[in-house]
Chain length 258, copies 7
């Protein structure tokens, strides 16, 4: 009967179930879980964004697995879930940030930017004729000299976090973050925490530099910095997170953004 | 057969069932019940709004759990239910209040504001192409020197209350309010009643300062005051409502706004 | 098979059943029956409107249970059924009455006003994309010195009555009205009939002043008068309709407008 | 299987069944049959329209049961079926007649008027987004000195008749008309035929003046005349059609326009 | 399984079935078969249109059973099927013919007129939001001194014929036409063939003048001539096609346009 | 289960099935197969179009069975399938060819014309609110002195062919074409091949001149020539393809365009 | 139950399934697999595009099987899947490239072009009223002197590759590419790899020149070069990839673009 019940709510565009849930939104959350993990960590010195960007084949250019996106000098976004949907929201966020600069002559606040995005997402859950976005975002940046870190989910709810992960194995990664996080992390400690958390999201031990994305925005210069593979390899080595140089990632059951 | 009957009314957008009910609206009320509680108390000295804003994780910024919203100097709103929907109505209320100031050069009345919001909500229950709002609001403020306290529900009906709660465990909390409320409450007694009512909405004994929101609007200055954690801790301590400093709120079955 | 048959007609927006009925309209009539009763009585001296406005809780402001509405000086409306829908029609009626004054410099006739409202209601039963209104109205007022009393129902049909009730227990109340009504009623006798009819609509004996609404429009001054609780208590006392001061109205199975 | 077959055609807006019928139109015809009867008789001296307008309660104003409608000086319409739908078509017909007078400075022909109405009705049976009209009309009037009598049905087909009935018990009434009609009827004989035919449509013997509507348009003055209760009582008495003054019309199974 | 298969294609607006048929169009053809027959015969001297226009009751005006329609001086149309749909196409054809005269100062060609109508019909079989027309037409007229005779069907296909019938018992009537038609028919022989073919379409022997429509357009004057009952009676008598003056046409199972 | 599976994909407008097919497009291809065959042959001297245009009755004008259409001086189209749909595409092609002449002062290329038509067809397979076209076309003509021969199918795909058939018995006819075609055919040999291929598409032996359409466009004059029955009879006789003058084509199971 | 589950998600336009997948997008990917393969290889000297363009019949012009498309001088696209859908995207890409040249006076970057196309594709997976595109593309070209090679899939996700295949037998071909690819390939080695990979996609051994498309864009001149059959035959011969000159490709089970 569970099956039948559920069918009824799937047919129409996003409507309520008898227990007050929006199934299409919950299914969109499943789409997020199917994607590889992204992690965000807020430290006193700045914000760290890290992402699992393993590709399905050694022939795919790692750079084309887009998980980290610069939105403006002072703000970046990490995504998890349906890649093409993420692109729409990233474009939307970039246009909003640009318009804000043009109209008000100043950087857009991280919270304002996040909420502009979530309000846009919410529309796709209430008004008919379209499906919700199957993607979650981590919005990180510097606002008035303070590091800020937000999450947007498919329902269009904004949350602010000290550290969080989205995508695969969220529960495990959160546990790791809750255990290791403290408020006095340096940026480098934040990077270590983000990368170690990321390594919890996959089934293998350790990470490969090519399969990881890392970006930081420091309080000092408020500049989004996209770390290259060499830099990442350095960190992984330093934190003993480098994968053993054995088998290629198989095209198996692991979550992969698509 | 109950199951089959019900299916029929779920498919289309908000239509009547044979017994004259609007199922989508009733399911939206379930969405409200899934949210954490908010409480409003009207006293002769002013209006008290309180909200359960426990977060799902210690890593989430308590401030980002939005349950209390300043609408204008003299009016605030507490919400329960679908967070992203609440944001739409809060934005709508703020715009209405602003427009009223610009157009008529004066504050918008609490009753007028409430009914503008409920008329907006009603449209989403009658005209096709969208679902109802899955959120209830407590609108509290000062109008012509008098404290006023209103409720909006997903059907778009406005009610005025002396004291009320929305969200989780509404029946229990109302019982508490009916037992303890009297017309001659001072503002501080109103705060005590609101917080003690809120503590009835959860399963644990006592409240944690970080997990509570508290706002007051006094008759004297007609200013929305958002109380900080220290102030709230003071009240909780004074009223013996502080939770024992033991276990973290588990990510269990308790209702959480989403 | 009855169940299956019926399902078929519920899915689409208001269409005919094989026996020529509009199910969505009939279900909307059920929504009216779920509401508390309103009564109208026409006397030679004026029109009486009375309504059961018991609230669900002692904490709810009785004044916020809107059942009687002044539309213009010379005309009022009593409603029963879905409250938020009633508000839409009341607003519509008020705008029509205002426009009539502005455009023609005179009061709108009661019959014209009623039919403008019913034509509006009918549109929601024929054109797709919306559901019918789940509310019935009693429109009462003075037109050319004559008291007039009309009913609008969810199908959009206007009827003129000498005395009528809408909402809960309509059949019982009508029987009472048919037995007691006569053309030579004074206004006070009309008030007595309206209140005694109202007391037939609930399960308890007698009425509480706070749970009753009463409005009159006399032929003499053509002014809508909303009677206050003291005035109502006086009438109830005079007509031996006061409830025994015992138990609170329980939040039970009695119909309540929502 | 008949049941299943039929369901399929009910869901969509007016589409063809495998045997080439439009079910929604046929169901709308059932709505007509559920209404009380109206009768039209054409005589050499003029047109007679009569209608069963018994009300559901002695408290309902007989005048508010609208079955006969003056459209213009020279033309009237009798209706049967869904009352609110009838009002839409009556309004449409009146506007058309007015526009014709304004635009061409002359009365609109009865046939032209009828076909303008039926073409309007047809649109609601072919284009999606609305249901057909659940009402039939008898359009009677004088055109170029000649009495004309037309019928419109829910499919939008115009027919011209010498005498006809619509609504309840149509087959019985038609039989009566076919047996009694002849071309040389005087107007008074036409009134007798119309009233006696009307008395065939109900289950009781005889008619009550208050429950009957009667209108005539004579060739001589081309003026729509709405006969009052006294005049009708005179005719009923003269033609021995008066109901015995016994029981009230019960609110039973008899068809009633709604 | 046939039943289930078919259901699937009936729900949506005109779509293809697995064997490449358009069910809604085929059902519309059934609507044509439900109508009384019309016949067209092309002779060297002109075009003959004849139609079965028996009415359902002796009280119905035979002239109001519209089966033959003058479109312009030189062209007429006979219809079969859903009457209200036919009126739409007849109006469309008349407007096209008028526009052609106004724009180009000359009569519209019969073939061009037909194809303008069929293209209009086709739109209702391909674009959603409306159902196909449930009517077939015979378009007959003179073009450049030549008699032309076309058919339009519910799919929107134009065919040119020497002689054809549409509506009830088409197969039998065609057989009769194929057996009797030859190219050298005079107009009078064409009338005889048309009327004798028409008499094949019903179940009774012979035709009644009032139940037959007859129109001719001769090559000589290119004028649409609508023959009156006397003229038709003369032909029926001359061709021994007069019905025996016995029983009235019963309101039985015979096809009747509706 | 096959049946159930399939039903699911038929209800909505053209969507993908689990194996990546567009059922509505495939069903439209079935509509093409239900039509009589058309054949195109490209020779060095020009293009040959031939079509089976047998009519359903001897009373139907063969010329009204439209299978070959002149689009412009240098290009013609042969169709198979749903006739009314074909007319839409033919009109579209003619307008495109005209617009090209007006805008660029030169003939439209055959390939460009074909692709403009197929792009139009594709829209009806992707965007909702309409069904695909149930027709295939052979577009033949001269472009820059070269004969070109294209096919359009219901999916909107353009193919270029040396020789092809569309409609009934396509597989058999193609086999015949593949066996007999060679690049050095003269135009007359091309006509022979087209006609002999056409004779493979039906069940009878040989062709009747009246039931065949033949058009050629030669490289020399680039003029579309529609061959008359006498010319066709000559070819059929010459190539021993004349049907024995026996039985009429019965209205049986043979495919016929409708 | 799998079957039933799935049905529910197929009916509406692209919505999420309970496990977070977009079935219509996944079914569109099946449409891609049904098409013949295309291959792209990036070498230091330029980009190679190759495609299996076997036709279904020897009478079809090989050139009309469109798999390789020049978009601008410096960029080409190879497609696999639904041909008519591919044409829409190719046209879209060409217009974008042209507009870029006009607006900015320079060539459009390969990555920008790809993402403009994928964003267009994404819209068809989220907004209702249309189905997704059933086609994948390989976009190859030179950007700032660097060879680039991208893939677009039906979800609207862009990926950059060193070498890839789309369409039939993708897994086998990828395996071949992964085994043979290295970064130092010369253009000729790239051609060899592309053609040998292509030969893995079919069931037969070897390729026929007419059934293969080959295009290259070299870093030196940035010119899209479409290789003719002779050139292709040369390469196939050189690389020992020529099919044995035996049997014709049968119209069997092999994937063919349609």
């Amino acid at each position: 009967m569970q099956g039948q019940q559920q069918q009824a709510y799937d047919r129409g565009i996003t409507i309520f179930s008898p227990d007050g849930r929006l199934y299409q939104v919950e299914y969109a959350r499943e789409a997020v879980k199917r994607g590889t993990a992204s992690v965000g960590v807020r430290t006193a010195e700045g914000v760290v964004l890290a992402a699992d960007k393993r590709s399905r084949s050694e022939l795919m250019e790692p750079a084309s697995v887009e998980k980290l996106h610069k939105i403006d000098d002072h703000v970046g976004i990490a995504s998890a879930g349906h890649v093409a949907d993420a692109r729409q929201l990233i474009d939307f966020a970039r246009r909003q940030a640009q318009v804000n600069r043009l109209r008000y002559g100043e950087e857009m606040g991280i919270e304002t930017l996040t909420k502009t995005v979530t309000d846009h997402i919410q529309q796709y859950t209430q008004v008919g004729g379209a499906r919700p976005f199957g993607v979650a975002l981590i919005v990180g940046g510097i606002e008035n000299g303070e590091p800020r870190l937000f999450e947007t989910d498919p329902s269009g709810t904004p949350y602010e976090w000290k550290a969080l992960s989205i995508g695969a194995n969220r529960a495990d990664v959160r546990e790791h973050l809750e255990a290791e996080y403290h408020e006095e992390l340096t940026l480098e400690e934040g990077i270590e925490l983000a990368l170690s958390a990321l390594s919890e999201s996959g089934e293998e031990t350790g990470l490969e530099p090519d399969g990881v994305g890392l970006a930081t925005i420091e309080v000092g210069d408020e500049q989004y910095v996209d770390h290259d593979a060499a830099s990442i390899e350095g960190y992984l080595d330093e934190f003993s997170l480098l994968a053993a140089p054995e088998a290629e990632s198989e095209d198996g059951d692991e979550p992969v953004d698509e």
